[in-house]
């Protein structure tokens, strides 16, 4: 079971109260960008076995989007943080490094 804490309303709830929104921290490439960048933005997603950063929405709760860092194998959640964040916050990265010393870092 995956338990997430919504940073917008403070509720810790079980996965079925949330809706997954795919990979977090995507950089948008729109009109005028290179074809490879646009293709990558549209279609290419990380699919890691381990540490991953995702968008989630508290669909049955406050309705807000937020971001979560978790392990896709163990379902361990390292932390959740506001959606208005363009890269993993330092304290989340620290937590992950402490729990997964061999993690290669966010790229």
């Amino acid at each position: 079971m995956l338990l997430l804490t919504c940073p917008c309303c403070g509720v810790t709830a079980e996965e079925t109260e949330f809706a997954p929104g795919g990979e977090a921290h995507l950089k948008r490439f729109g009109p005028g960008s290179a074809d490879e960048d646009y293709e990558s933005y549209m279609f290419n997603r990380k699919n890691p076995r381990g540490v991953h950063f995702e968008r989630w929405r508290h669909a049955y709760g406050c309705g807000k989007w937020f971001l979560a860092a978790r392990d896709t194998v163990m379902l361990e959640v390292f932390g959740t943080y506001p959606a208005q964040t363009t890269e993993p916050p330092a304290e989340i990265v620290e937590k992950i490094k402490a729990r997964r010393p061999d993690w290669e870092g966010y790229a």
Binding site: C8, C9, A13, E14, T16, G61, C62, G63, K64
Partner: protein, 188 residues
């Protein structure tokens, strides 16, 4: 010709290990905006008598109440017939503010659960630990397959708000959850 307004399931009632009742007509106004704004707080308190609630809380004053729904949303509860005028009053008071108001009274259904076993009944249909919830608390979640807001009014009294379109589903669900002899007895 005058319109006859009715709630979703007038008079619906079920005696289980908790009593489930459709609560009848309830005025409900959705207010969205910057809840940190002092002008907004002042206007809302002036119109309803209630202070803005803290996160996941309900404040009550007479027949008005405010329920914290999200960081930028408060549900105003008032007598059903007063809702249109209250929307007008607040719209004027909040004219320059970043805020929107909508009378959602007839878009929702409200059920009242009475009895010490309300946590046991709701725990069967919601993915929530109800142990920490007490009077004045609010929890938005799902009840089986539909969205629900649970307002704890007293030690043995809660309200469940859902969309009117799923009122029958919710009533049937609550009846099943409250069936006599089916208490999971999680909370004693």
């Amino acid at each position: 010709m005058s319109e006859t307004l009715t709630s979703a399931l007038p008079g619906a009632e079920y005696e289980g290990f908790v009593t489930v009742r459709e609560a009848g007509l309830q005025g409900m106004i959705t207010l969205r905006g910057d809840l940190g704004s002092k002008a907004l707080a002042k206007a809302v308190t002036k119109a309803t008598g209630c202070a803005l609630p803290a996160q996941r809380q309900i404040t009550t004053e007479g027949d008005h109440a405010l329920a914290w729904m999200s960081p930028d949303e408060v549900l105003i509860l008032c007598p059903h017939d007063k809702a249109p005028a209250l929307v007008e009053t607040l719209s004027e008071a909040l004219a320059g503010e970043f805020a929107t108001l909508a009378n959602v009274s007839d878009a929702r259904a409200v059920f009242r659960l009475s009895g010490a076993g309300w946590r046991d009944a709701l725990a069967k249909i919601c993915p929530v630990d109800f142990a920490p919830l007490g009077p004045g608390d609010l929890r938005r979640t799902r009840a089986a397959q539909v969205a629900a807001a649970i307002l704890v009014d007293g030690a043995e009294e809660v309200r469940v708000i859902c969309f009117r379109s799923v009122a029958q589903y919710m009533f049937d669900l609550l009846k099943t959850a409250a069936a006599p002899g089916s208490e999971p007895a999680l909370y004693r």
